[in-house]
Every structure is written in C-alpha cells, then in structure tokens.
Amino acid sequence: MTSEKRKKLLTLAVLAAALAACLVVDATLPSYHIAVKVISKASVYMLVAVSMNLLNGFTGLFSLGQAGFMLLGAYAYAVLTIPVAKRDSVYQYFDGGLLHFSLPEIFSFLGEDLGTLVGMLAALLVGGLLAALLAYLIGLPVLRLKSDYLAIATLGFAEILRTLFQWNGLGPITNGSNLLKSYPTFSRATSYVLLAGVLIFAVVLLINSTYGRAFKAIRDDEVAAEAMGINLSHHKRMSFVISSFFAGVGGGMMAMYMGTVAALPFRSSMTYEILLIVVIGGIGSITGSIIASFLYIFSSEWWLRGLDSGTFLGIHAPGLFKNGFRMAVFSVIIMVIVLFFRRGLMGDKELPDLLGRRPKKQKKEVAGK
C-alpha cells in the first residue's frame, strides 16, 4: 500500500504545482494577457471535455449534444447575472427584457464581493441544473437509440435548441439573435482553473464510485451489465444527466470567458472540437482530456498562430504559412491519432498511473481495448 500512498502524494504534488503555476501567471501578468486567456479557455474546455468523456468514454454512449447543453448553461448564466441597470441597453430591442433581477444583486446582502461571487456561482449552478433537466427530459426517448442514432439525435436536439434560443419569440429572455453581455466574469485564470478543477474532481470521485463502475460495466458489455442487475436506462440516463450538468456549467464558464453570449458559436463544430480533444487525450482518461484541452487550446489560440500568419519557428514562408494552415496541420494530426494511436495520449490511464511505477504485468493491457 505504500506505493498507493506515494502515488497519491505525487498526484497531489503535480496538482499543487499546476495550481501554483496558475497563481504565478495571475500574479505576474495582467488579466488581459494571452496566457491568462488561454488558461481560462482551456479550463472551460477541460471541464466540458471531461463531461463528454464521462458519457462517451466511461458509459459508452456516443452523444453529440454537448454544444447544446453548453448553450443552455451559457444563456442561463448570462440572463441571470446581467445587472438590472444594464438590462435596458442589453435588451435594446426587447424593452429591457422580461426578467428584472440579477442573482449577484440578490445576494448583495452578503457584501459586494462575496455577494457577486455567490450570485455568479448560483447562476452557474442554475445553468447546470437546467441542462441536466433538459437531459433528463430528452434522455428517456433518445437513450434507447443505438450508438450512431443516438449521436445524430443528440446533434439534432442541440440544433433545435440553437434555433429556439435565436427565435425572437423568446427574445425577452434570450435577446433573440442579439448578444447578451455586461455580466460579471472571472478575470483571473486561477478562478477558472479552480472551479473547473473542483468540478472535475467530483467527476473523478463519481467515476471511482460504485456508480462509476456500473457506467464502465455498461460501456464494456451492456448485456452482461443488465444481466448483473444494472438498470440500463436508469444508469444511462443518470450518466447523461450528470454529463449535461457539467456541460451546462462549462457553458456558463464559456460565457464568462467570451464576455458576450450568442447562440451561433454553439454549433455542432464546437461539439466536434470537444470530441476531438477527448479522442486526442484518450477515450476513458480524465487526465488525458485535461492535458489534451490545454494542448489543443494553447496550440490553436496561441502557439501555432504563426502557422497562419506567414512566419513560424522563425521560418518566413507566406506561401505555405497562410490562413488555414494551422487547422490543416491540426486535422492531419488528429487523423493520425485516430488511425494509428487510437488510444490517444493516455489511453485509459490516469495521472496516478503515470506517477506510480507499476509491475510489468501491465504490458498486456495495450491489447485489451
């Protein structure tokens, strides 16, 4: 058991180091620095990627509705936190909108800073719960569908949701096709990392609980799971609801990161992007999803921008490094991973597995999946 303990300590050390790095970034760089921005965005993506992994990787349900649930969370967060005084200007075409309260203001009796924080977190929670509720409602009919039908049905739901939110009929709440903005946001990377980290920790706990084991059993062999008394529809729905909850919260955080909310960014290409992150990281590895989120966002938003603008690694080649080259390189890498490294960066390993030295019997495992 000492090796278990050592693993735990090492894991904690790695996590603490990551957090410390974030704190250093926050302390030394201004809030508008690109490093702060990419860390924030990557945190949002890692939460959503983990939520997708819970469903696709751990329960074996191939759902493509993540962007739809994020959309719901993003709107819920924005609608509930826009200061009352700003509503007239935000809902400029809808007479100031229908709602005339703002959660951070409701909690202002706790003091300004704390009240705002509590209000923001409450709004995130509401977003998550709404997403979970929707998942609960559509789960019953949709989750009976087999893998690829499920994928296409959830994709369809997300698209319907997007139409609804852009519809002027709901404008007094959603502001139709217009932007929601002026709501409070986290300005520090550490806030994003911490919040996403805490939520991911909850997912890790879930996965290692008896329910998480049941999810994995369903993924490995549905027939056997059912024969061993695991209620398939109940557990699938549970996984779907929980995953959607985290996607909803992730959507709320996405709203914070973007500063403005519109329905357009939440289209299926966002879901695909998250799916590819999960695949890069390894389907069935939380650690993999986290690492892949950071790699993906850091590369696409920051490090590899040079590929699009003529100069990369000091090489100046405007003919080659032009618009779109970065994404072309990206998609080639992704196809290579999909075809030749199907287990992604991490396979189904987690951080402690990497840190603890394991006996050599693990060798066979590669052939396992």
């Binding site: 008896t210 084991r213 049941a214 993924r219 490995d220 024969a227 695991i230 529809s233 019997k361």
Partner: protein, 280 residues
C-alpha cells in the same frame, strides 16, 4: 413441499416462423440442481434468455418463488403466425428487463463468456454487487457510503477466494485463462446474491480435470450459498453427476424429464442424441 423456486409454464418462443422453444414446462424446487440438455440448437439458451428477461416469450408465463414474473401472449402480426399451443391461455403482458429479474434473485452466466473486459478480476465481482447497493449517486460520489463500500469490497474478496481467484484479483479479466474466466463468471453471478443461479455451459472448453473440479465446485456452492441451480451443459459426466432433475429439449420441444437414471435409459433421448458427437 413448498412452492417451486422457478416454474416455467407453457413458454413458447417463436422468431418469425421458427419456433425455438415450444410449450416448455419446467420447475425447480428449492435447493435443487436441474439440468437442461439437448442437442445443439434445441433451444436451451433461448429458454435461458426467456427466463432471464432477455427475450420476451411469444406465449406463456414464468413464476419465480410463487410469483408470476413474466407473461405474454401472441400479439400483432404474431397473432396470425403463431404456431404454438395454449394461444388463448394468457391475456396479460408482464415483461421485466433482465436487471429487474436479477434483482429478484436470479443470476446467470453466459455461454460465450461476457466479462467486463477492461475491468480487473476484482472489479468484475465488485460491480456485480452494484444491484444490491443502498447508496444513491450523491452519497456514493461523495464517499458517504464507506461502510457499504468496504462491506462490498470485503465480500468481493471472499467470493474470489471461494472460486479460487484471490491471487488474480488485480489482473485484467480477459487476461485470465479460459477456465478461470468461467469461474469468474460464476463468482460474478454469485455476487448479485441470487437464490437461483443459471449456468449456461459452465464447462464448455474445459479439460476433464477442470470439469471434475467444476462439478465439485457447483455441488459445493449449492450448499454454501443455499441456492438452486439451473444449468445447460453438454458434459454428461457433469450433468449426471450433480443433477437432481434433467430436462431434455429437442427442436424446442421437451422430450423427456426425470432423474439422471431415468434419462440415461430413455429411448427418446438416446434417439435425439444419436449421431450427435458429444464433446465430453
């Protein structure tokens, strides 16, 4: 005598025009070991699948511990196509999913081993206890169920020791040799805390030595766990050695039932098996 633990009543299973199980009647008393035998394609596994809720029978009913758990009658297109008997005898539809039936106290193994392949030996047994949990998803996630969890872990370890897999607990289930995988399947089924255990060809692919051990083991667990057992098997030594009752199926029809002694001397059974090479 008390109620039979399991009673299959007039069960017919028809796929399109093919009658796979034809008006099967079968009962198991508490503590009995009952074998279901017959040539390949006789409908044994289909009968298993009906009893465990995987298939909905076309007609007939199944009682478990005196309570009716499954019932059906020909409906829709099947009304016209139905070739079996007792068509008018049933009018209700009772069709629980397999997990409900397992929770009632019936557990099974699979002919073509279906272990959870990416899980360890230990986890395979542990997961099977999930159906007996009392914790909900919150208490389980936030570790408020430590007592239950540790009780389950302890029990899983015990079960592994009973089937003799304690040394392999950390291995991946699919990395075990064949015989051990079969034992693990039995341990997993036992982990659901059944009163009736259904074994689908538990000795398939085993050598004579392993088969003998298994025979002994099955006889043993009947007493240790106070359970009844229904088993499908081709190894006649095993069947004759431990069964209290034997049912013989051929082309979906029950052609004989009785004690091993009676079955051994039954002309119909001998005819049915004639030319059928046994792999025992």
């Amino acid at each position: 005598m008390s109620d039979p633990i399991l009673r299959v009543e007039n069960v017919t299973m028809q796929f399109g025009g093919v009658v796979a199980v034809d008006n099967l009647n079968l009962s198991i008393d508490p503590g009995q070991i009952v074998a279901l035998i017959g040539p390949n394609g006789a409908g044994k596994t289909t009968a298993f699948n009906v009893i465990t809720g995987v298939y909905q029978p076309t007609n007939g009913a199944v009682y478990f511990q005196g309570k009716k758990i499954i019932e059906n009658h020909p409906q829709g297109k099947m009304k016209a196509q139905y070739k079996g008997q007792n068509a008018g005898a049933y009018s209700h539809v009772l069709s629980p999913t397999p997990d409900k039936i397992t929770q009632l106290g019936m557990a099974r193994t699979f002919q073509n081993i279906r272990l959870w392949k990416s899980q360890s030996v230990f986890d395979n047994v542990l997961i099977a206890m999930h159906c007996r949990r009392h914790s909900n998803v919150f208490s389980a996630t936030f570790r408020l169920n430590r007592k239950e969890e540790s009780a389950q872990r302890k029990r899983a370890q015990e079960l592994l020791e009973i089937v003799g897999l304690a040394d392999d607990r950390g291995e991946l289930a699919t990395s075990l040799p064949y015989g051990k995988q079969r034992r693990l399947e039995i341990a997993r089924a036992l982990a659901t805390d059944p009163t009736l255990l259904l074994l689908d060809e538990p000795a398939a692919g085993m050598n004579p030595q392993e088969t003998d051990d298994l025979t002994e083991f099955i006889a043993q667990i009947r007493w240790d766990f106070h359970i009844s057992i229904l088993l499908i098997e081709h190894h006649m030594d095993l069947v004759m050695g431990i069964s209290d009752q034997i049912y013989v199926l051929d082309f979906g029809k029950l052609i004989a039932r009785g004690t091993p002694e009676q079955i051994r001397n039954d002309q119909r059974v001998i005819d049915a098996y004639l030319g059928v090479a046994e792999d025992a």
